[in-house]
């Protein structure tokens, strides 16, 4: 019996020592502990080219892993490594955090910690691209502007992100009126759009309180439904089994509660975010940039994309507007989104 066990141990040791890590198909998850927060990082995709795309999720209050759903993420994972990171106090992140300590600057440091761990784990020669969506655009911008962190990454891809929250609220009210009148003339959801236009005409953008800001964001998501009903927007692809598996791995209750404490229920961070503007610092960004926007994004209007495009201090920049998309072109026009991101990465990897 002892001989059999010895032989088995030797065989297992031999096989395990011969096993090579298959970087063409990475499926890894780990946590990064930084400043009292334990943040999950999920790493999936093809590592052959050593291209790692860190997806900086929106919200604040969303989850990184949730963005693994959809055709765009699945297709990008076939070519590159996608890194989905649950930010501090969001998704399945854990920790003991004083809500008043949560700041954009601290979260930029969290992102720096994630970048450091990725290099520690996969090698200093990995090529990191940042892709920030919505609030992730704010956080990504904060990271690039801090210290010399932009030198740690190859390029910046901003998708419907915000570098200037007060500008969002000023610009989106005009967009409600302009697009609303356009849709009324086309007889699309006429009554609903008339209500929206009528409401927008009475919003005082110079005196927006917390309730007004939340109401604008609510209506921004509401009108997306009208545009989908009238086929102005391209419908998202059907959910696949892979998407269901991603949904299964999340925890909606924890995510909702944690996200609330971090942002909506956290006055200091909420106020910091809604008053934040990086407009006059964007000239300090010198790395290649790609700005991707949905034409009908009422959450963060495309005017912010053009503004960021014009202000970053690099000639190596592109902007692309998806004409049948709203706040998430990776869901509305997944194929075009993948083509745009892939083309940019191939040019800069």
């Amino acid at each position: 019996m002892n001989k059999i066990i010895t032989v088995l141990i030797i065989l297992v040791s031999l096989f395990s020592s011969c096993k090579k890590e298959d970087i063409s198909s990475i499926a890894d998850d780990f946590r990064v502990r930084h400043d009292n927060a334990d943040m999950p990082v999920y790493v999936y995709g093809n590592g052959t080219e050593k291209v790692f795309i860190i997806f900086i999720h929106g919200g604040p209050g969303d989850s990184g892993y949730a963005n693994r759903e959809g055709k765009a993420a699945a297709e990008l994972e076939k070519k590159y490594v996608m890194v989905y990171w649950d930010q501090r106090g969001q998704g399945l992140s854990e920790g003991k955090i004083d809500s008043e300590d949560i700041t954009i600057d601290l979260m930029a440091e969290d992102l720096h910690a994630v970048v450091q761990v990725l290099k520690h784990k996969y090698g200093n020669d990995i090529k990191i691209f940042l892709l920030g969506h919505s609030w992730g655009g704010t956080l990504g911008t904060a990271y690039l502007l801090k210290n010399n962190y932009q030198s740690e990454v190859r390029a910046w891809i901003e998708v419907d992100g915000s570098h200037d929250f007060p500008k969002i609220n000023r610009d989106v009210i005009n967009m409600f009126i302009d697009v609303g009148n356009e849709q009324i003339n086309l007889n699309h959801n006429k009554r609903n759009w008339q209500d929206i236009v009528s409401w927008a005409e009475h919003v005082d953008t110079l005196n927006l309180n917390r309730e007004a800001i939340i109401d604008i964001n609510y209506k921004a998501h509401l009108v997306e439904k009208y545009l989908l009903e009238d086929n102005v927007l391209q419908k998202e692809d059907e959910k696949t089994m892979r998407d269901l598996a991603v949904s299964y791995s999340q925890n909606t209750i924890t995510r909702i509660f944690s996200g609330y404490y971090t942002f909506m229920g956290n006055d200091s961070f909420f106020d910091e975010v809604v008053n934040n503007s990086f407009t006059h610092e964007l000239h300090n960004i010198t790395i290649p940039c790609l700005f991707l926007w949905g034409k009908y994004d009422f959450v963060v209007p495309s005017s912010l994309g053009y503004d960021a495009f014009n202000r970053v201090n690099t000639s190596d920049k592109e902007i692309l507007i998806f004409d049948k998309s709203a706040h998430s072109p990776m869901l509305n026009q997944a194929n075009e989104f993948v083509d745009a991101v892939s083309s940019f990465i191939e040019d800069h990897k």
């Binding site: 780990f30 946590r31 990064v32 334990d38 999950p40 999920y42 809500s99 924890t254 509660f257």
Partner: protein, 209 residues
């Protein structure tokens, strides 16, 4: 905190031991233990072991007369129990959650059909266990942390129902909804919802017939 965990688990063994020696004359008044499947948020799988002792018991018989001159008699047993529970669940791609909690439970049993309902509350502890974890300090130094995770105080609220079963290898079946409230989870209190389906077993020789 380690001392609290040790004391908490020892307390479970105390409840377990006491429930085995507890003497009783009632068919229901015996300590029991339960084995349950735990579904965190219904679908994240886990297991739970529980044990309970009956602290007090009262049987009530209610008689109602109907117009048809029929008399209906309902008999109920009301019990106050102390229960200790330990278990875990597995959250794929994220962590393993282990919990240990105690509850004071009120249970009402219909003696006619053996069906019961219960409600309980009490203190508890919850520990998450992460996969691979890297700590990054202020100097940018990176260190791998073994067995990383977080410990939370987790008072519990439970609602359940079940039925005592005759002539079976188990004493009763139980379905329980458990809400653990994790304190100081990030910046607040986060509920953890578990659904448990289990079987209760008898310690006593005086088994339900």
């Amino acid at each position: 905190m380690k001392k609290v965990i040790v004391i908490s688990v020892l307390l479970l063994f105390f409840v377990l031991g006491y429930s085995q020696i507890h003497d009783s004359t009632s068919v229901f008044r015996t300590g029991s233990y339960t084995l349950s499947y735990v579904g965190n948020n219904l679908v994240k799988p886990g297991l739970k072991f529980g044990t309970n002792i009956i602290l007090s018991e009262k049987t009530l018989v209610k008689t109602k007369k109907r117009k048809s001159s029929k008399t209906i008699t309902n008999a109920f047993t009301r019990q106050l129990m102390l229960a200790g529970n330990i278990g875990f669940f597995w959250h794929p791609k994220s962590h393993i959650g282990a919990f240990n909690y105690y509850e004071l439970t009120y249970r009402k049993i219909n003696l006619k059909n053996g069906k019961y309902s219960k409600i309980g509350f009490g203190p508890g502890l919850y520990r998450s266990f992460y996969p691979e974890t890297y700590q990054v300090d202020d100097n940018g130094d990176i260190a791998k942390i073994p067995f990383a995770g977080r410990i939370y105080l987790s008072p519990v609220l439970t609602f359940g129902s079940g039925k005592f079963v005759k002539d079976s290898f188990f004493k009763y079946r139980t379905f329980t909804t458990t809400l653990l409230f994790l304190f100081d989870y990030n910046s607040g209190v986060v509920p953890l919802l578990n659904f448990e389906i289990g079987l209760g077993f008898d310690f006593s020789k005086n088994k339900t017939k």
